[in-house]
Amino acid sequence: MKERTKYILGALSAVIFIAMMILGIINKEFQIVFAKAVRICLECIGLG
């Protein structure tokens, strides 16, 4: 793959992923992440 192609693919990927993040924020997905992260995840630590 040519270097120029890699840069273009990389730049396109970055734009797509930033767009995904913005859409996810609008969808309020981060609330799920936050709710999970601020409570002790008993499954994650092998308890329960």
């Binding site: 992440v33 008993l42 994650c44």
Partner: protein, 293 residues
């Protein structure tokens, strides 16, 4: 200062920065600030009492298993962005479990190995873990309420046991009464990872880590990439000899297995290995002199 020493310092500083909630380590309580909306790039359990931010793999499972979302735009977007910029540089420089394995490999042992027996096929196992335990099971193995469990975190992740389970159990007596068979399975998995890391270089990263599997896919196109200067390369094979991930660097400088530790670059006697960032830096002085003209 040797590059590998610098790498170790960066890993340690990054761990201190992202897991520096001292009150949490002392009291066994989790940080509840807004930064927990965001993921750190490495495999860093959000149930680590010192963690300021969230684990990307844990967060991905949480969203996929929530029953509310069929696809995680936010978390996958974040993972994708990290991967697009850095590729597996994150594994080599910013992952706390990677740091642990690097330190363990430094422990003297009569015979060290780069890889496990069957490495050629075993290295694809991490993609199976990613597909089955991180994506398919949390989405499909749901309870009556339609919610899935974080299968990878629950049954496999040794980083969660090491950074979350053990410190929380040490600090919270009431949690110790809930220890069951699952905890001992996870301790066994952690023990295997720890002991094998003394003999084999980064076995978890090579064969199990779903996050490394994801980031590795970006290695060929990430903004940070390695490059071979063909005129300088004499194909002596020294790069592969020193590479702990056992990559033929002169053939595949951006292999999906490369964690960008840059050992090959330091050891190359002809200066045949460079990086996109170095090329960018070399470009800057020219631009500067153009500016002054």
């Amino acid at each position: 200062m040797k590059k590998q020493t610098i790498r170790l310092i960066v890993q340690a500083l990054w761990f201190a920065l992202t897991n520096g909630y001292v009150k949490g380590w002392m009291s066994g309580k989790l940080y509840k600030g807004k930064i927990k909306n965001v993921c750190v790039p490495g495999l860093n359990c959000y149930s680590c009492p010192g963690a300021f931010a969230s684990c990307p793999i844990g967060s991905l499972q949480a969203v996929l298993g929530s029953g509310k979302y069929k696809f995680s735009l936010y978390v996958l977007g974040m993972i994708g962005l990290f991967g697009t910029i850095f590729g597996r540089f994150i594994c080599g420089w910013l992952c706390p479990f990677g740091l642990l394995q690097d330190l363990l490999y430094r422990i003297p042992f009569p015979k060290k190995f780069k890889n496990l027996f069957g490495h050629k096929f075993l290295k694809y196992f991490k993609y199976v873990i990613l597909l089955v335990f991180v994506i398919i099971l949390p989405m499909t193995a749901v309870n009556i309420a339609g919610m899935g469990q974080p299968w990878f975190c629950e049954y496999i992740c040794p980083s969660g046991t090491f950074l979350g389970g053990i410190p929380l159990l040490l600090a919270n007596a009431e949690l110790r009464s809930v220890i069951g068979w699952r905890f001992w399975i996870k301790i066994a998995i952690l023990s295997v990872c720890v002991l094998s890391s003394i003999v084999v270089y980064r076995p978890f990263c090579k064969y199990v880590c779903p996050l490394g599997a994801l980031y590795g896919l970006f290695n060929p196109i990430s903004f940070y990439r390695l490059k071979i200067i063909e005129e300088n390369c004499i194909k002596c094979g020294k790069c592969q000899k020193v590479c702990d991930m056992d990559i033929k660097v002169w053939e595949k400088p951006n292999s999906t297995e490369c964690i960008r530790c840059l050992k090959c670059k330091s050891e190359c006697e002809t200066g045949a290995i460079t990086s996109t960032f170095e090329e960018l830096k070399k470009g800057l002085p020219q631009r500067k002199s153009q500016d002054t003209i």
